[in-house]
Symmetry: D2
């Protein structure tokens, strides 16, 4: 095993769900270690969070600008190999660009930015920087999502005709933001989040479809709603999809689906069969051939293809979950960085790490949905 990479984190302080997830995911295989951070939106909060996590004082920064400057000045040994950005959406673009320009490989949570224009600009910065920009569409890390993608590529279900993707949650069924729930708060503010459900979970759904099918989304027809009285961002979207080449689909995202937890499901229907996967029971992937019996592929079980097999740690029947999937994305990020450092091609699984193209597409998807809903017509996804 090589020495672990070093990384810094911006955002994700005490009490922030996603920051802790990134830290556990990045480190669970022993491939990376947190060495620096600016873990909060005010200097006080940032420094307190860093102390709580045991960061040494000189690597615990009050502002992200201080951090990028100080860490970039570090010598090669202790200097971070990459920076993870888990701030609210509004600041992704600025911080990520600064991180790339400071010479760091950069990981940014989804959605990549607040607007497609920002995303395009950031993609440009990434491209010129020669650094990796990864966007953590973490559901692509599930071994059986990777298996599904590879099965579609290999023709297992023939030509894709129809896709149905849903991402239903119930936690915003009431007005949590008004009740002061922290995570709900910034997500409910259009100025900070951009979109609501579309940005928070809609992009995951769009990305999952694209990742598995390899199809390019051409246009959308969306009905976008804020069901909870007083809410200023969408909490529901129903979207018809048309793909290049003639496939069609339906996407439903909802954060007021009372009684749902984190119900992301994908079904892909092709000329020769279909695939179904459900995030809440992620260790199974169902292939229903046009003829023949339904077959249940299990994580690490019989028939595992290479990128799936490279993305699992335990024998079949020993469930892996959300952390392990997220860690697979980091495993790919580490492999990409190490391969670049060592001047060698990365392992195949690392090629699956979502980057600027996927991030930009996600933003274009959001904006196309909002425009379509406004105009009540089919809208091209730029």
């Amino acid at each position: 095993m090589n020495a672990p990479l070093r990384f810094g984190m911006i955002g994700g302080g005490a009490g922030a769900f996603i920051g802790a997830v990134h830290r556990t995911a990045a480190t669970m295989d022993g491939l990376a270690v947190l060495v620096a951070g600016c873990l909060g939106s005010t200097p006080e909060r940032a420094l307190a969070s860093g102390r709580a996590l045991g960061l040494p004082a000189d690597r615990n920064h009050a502002t992200w600008r201080d951090m990028l400057k100080a860490e970039a000045a570090m010598p090669a040994g202790p200097r971070p190999d990459f920076i993870t950005i888990v701030t609210p959406n509004e600041s992704h673009a600025e911080i990520a660009a600064a991180s790339l320009r400071a010479g760091f490989h950069t990981v940014v949570d989804k959605p990549m930015t607040r607007t497609a224009a920002e995303a395009a600009e950031l993609a440009h910065v990434a491209s010129s920087s020669g650094r990796l920009l990864a966007v953590t569409y973490n559901y692509t890390g599930y071994p059986l999502v990777r298996q599904a993608a590879q099965m579609v590529r290999s023709g297992e279900i023939g030509v894709v005709r129809k896709v149905v993707v849903e991402y239903h949650q119930g936690w915003l069924a009431t007005d949590l933001a008004a009740e002061g729930q922290k995570q709900a708060a910034w997500r409910a503010d259009p100025a900070r989040a951009g979109a609501g459900a579309l940005g928070d979970i809609g992009t995951h759904a769009e990305n999952l479809v694209s990742f598995v099918t390899g199809l390019r989304l051409a246009s959308v027809l969306a009905d976008v709603t804020a069901f909870v009285p007083g809410r200023r961002v969408d909490d529901d979207a129903s979207v018809l999809l048309r793909f290049d080449g003639g496939a069609k689909g339906v996407l439903s995202v909802c954060q007021v689906a009372a009684g749902e937890e984190n119900n992301l499901t994908l079904r892909v229907y092709g000329t020769e069969g279909s695939l179904a996967w459900r995030q809440e029971n992620p260790n199974e992937l169902v292939l229903s051939p046009r003829e023949g019996q339904r077959r249940v592929f299990t994580r690490a079980g019989a028939g595992s293809l290479d990128t799936a097999r490279a993305s699992t740690r335990l024998p079949p029947g020993h469930p892996e979950g959300f952390f392990e999937a997220f860690a697979n994305v980091y495993r790919g990020i580490v492999e990409r960085i190490a391969a670049q450092r060592d001047g060698r091609p990365p392992a195949d699984h690392a090629l699956l790490v979502p980057g600027p193209a996927e991030g930009l597409r996600g933003m274009r998807f959001i904006e196309a949905c909002l425009a379509s809903a406004q105009a009540s017509r089919w809208t091209v996804v730029g």
Copy 2:
């Protein structure tokens, strides 16, 4: 137990799936007995089918016109109480109107007619006739579908916000009509069937939503497709739904969903919880409250409400299926006819039998979807 009612059947001869289903359903509780028929589209086929079923020669008719005339002339004893019509969609309107005018209570398979105009006319005939006109949306007969409807009415899930209904089949994934498969053939002919998947299964899905939620569908935005090369009717439709009062929804019907069998599923999300039901495992209904644990209602199990309890024959854990659900619709039809005969109000479960209003709404739904798809815009459901 009262003496069983007598019924005649038009259509549904040897080899016709739906005719046999109606006969089994109508008779399985001993509430009705087949006494006459014109069971085929040609005199030869009709007479042969009737003989095979053991109809006496004088009740076995060569044409439906002959049959209605002869049977109407029968004295009250042997005369049929009702006529079931299971011909291809194109002839529903004419035959059903004639049957009603001949004085028979009349049962017609869905979709009620080939066009909404025909349906409106037929509804008018039914209304003036004083006879019952029932449309066999058989999925309303499942006890737990009735339970769901009653739970929505009683406020169990609060105000409905979003509905997701799907009806996916795979049997038309290839061009069966071209291969000469009989059932597929007339369904694939626009002149005979009207619509394709929309008429065949789309109206079931629309009816299920309306039946369970009690909401009135206001407008649709549809994307309608014929995926199989050469097919002249739709085999797929993805439809956004808007209901009076602000609820929204997504409807997906597909007959090229390779690997699916008869996957009709409904989810209804309200402010206080959600309901989920799946036709392929119809003995369970899942209530997911906004707070609290998911609860699984079983057919005839704890918490069964009255129309559900009146629609079941076996203790919980002894599965009932498609026939029993279909028979529940007939049980209601028989009860409605008997109650009218006896001058008493029918039992509650019999009020659930779909009639002209539901049949007409189904036709308007189909036409609105086709018009919307043509125009790519939201279209009012008349």
Copy 3:
């Protein structure tokens, strides 16, 4: 279609669950019609039940002895082809023997008798009578149970090593008999029922194992319990199984399994794979090969073998249930009687109808379990 057979019924009057089930099952395909009965344990109840079912006065009998005598004296036209006996266990042997001796093909509900000695005697009577004696182990009628049996025979899972069968119900978790529940009452009386859970559901479990595996049960080691205070028959049994040839197994039956409905499940593990089936979702059979993906066989779906295909009425995805399975047993009974009448070999599916051998084996199983539990040792199943 041939003219339906005629049958009479003894027992199973108003309010008796199993009588109504037999009538629906026997008639649902139009293959048989009820023409005579003695439908209750007292003359008053019997006659009232017969009237309620519309039996003509001369075919509605006050005692079973009267009935057998009168019906046997009928001329060939109206005379019943077979008699179904659904009285409490205690009288099965006497009535069935009398029915056979009166020249009727005879159907008796399981368990065949109250003791193994009675069963052996009855088997002898059946054998000498030249008449069919069928025992309604109705779970053998499920198409996928027949599929499983045929798959085991064809070597799909190799040599069977271990079997796990469970039949858990919760309806006797409290003392229903003391509360006067009718069905529970006679079942709870050792003099009338023989055994408790072992006779009521244990024999179903034993029969299911034998039917599917084809193995001969050699010996048992049982722990038999009456959990409910005051109950005089067993309401639970846990049994270790040893089969001829070296296979082993576990059987658990329980009627105090609070929260269970009718949870009969079977798993058969062989050298090359395993099969799993669950009565509460009977339209699926899961084959888990030693290598390769788990495969889900559906009723009437891809891969259906002949006896399974001959035992189904609807396309895949249209659920069949308990009645249809029960009706499959009657379909076989009718076919066996018709074939004998017509001097031809019966169709294959009719060979699956359980008869005296299966009924006797069930009684020996019960008695071996009770003896084993008494002695705390392995006991040969006679």
Copy 4:
């Protein structure tokens, strides 16, 4: 967050499944860090494994005796807080005793030892040492297993009557040991493993029952088999259980259950309801009340009780799995050690960590099963 504890590991080198699991589990929350090891059964393998994991040379030991001596001599700063032992069963007793005597808190994988006599002796050593001895029955770490235990204690299902526990795997369906598979090899050697399936997975099953029900197992009646020709240890056991107080049960463990992965399931039936849990889908726990609907408790979902809530990291719907459950056991171990160090009572969840009593009971269970199978009679679990 406090500074992480330091630990050393004996056994579990390159290629050993369970060693890697322990390392990931111990470190995934950042609560512990590996500082020393003797990670292999020969000096060469041990040193190579330690180097591969990045251990510094002075903490990478050739033999476990060297390691315990050297590490015990370390000053308080770098000295390990605890030692984890993941060698084959045969050496658990000796090494664990030495570790405890060297002053280390000690973690040993299950089964605790090779014989009950060894276990009793080791329990004695632990007791005199004043050090923690934990036995990693890792399935007790699943949040919903803890939830189940707490629900049983709180009377949610009334008085327990019957328990059904199964642990079925298929990976030993053929003779992997003969084929040289490493993990299978030592497990298949009676001298090294003690028992086969009973030791490997049977003790997990026994422990799960005891943990959830709180019942004391009184006696067993076992049928123990080696199905694979030439195998010298059991690969299957079917066991009847009797508990103090009158509850009964069935335990089935099988490693030749072709087609199974890691199917550990538990059902507990009480007078008021039942609980069901399945390791392969561990984020759900089903409560079936005697009256009322089945309710599905989800990890971190509504109704989570305190020890369950303390054992989870992610919101409901974000699956956790095997690693997280295992990490919960380590979280308790760390808490116990920290609490002892700090002179405070440990948090409640840490009281659930299995120790010498559970380890000894597991060994007694194994020996009672083997003795019972030998004698074919009920055998007291000492």
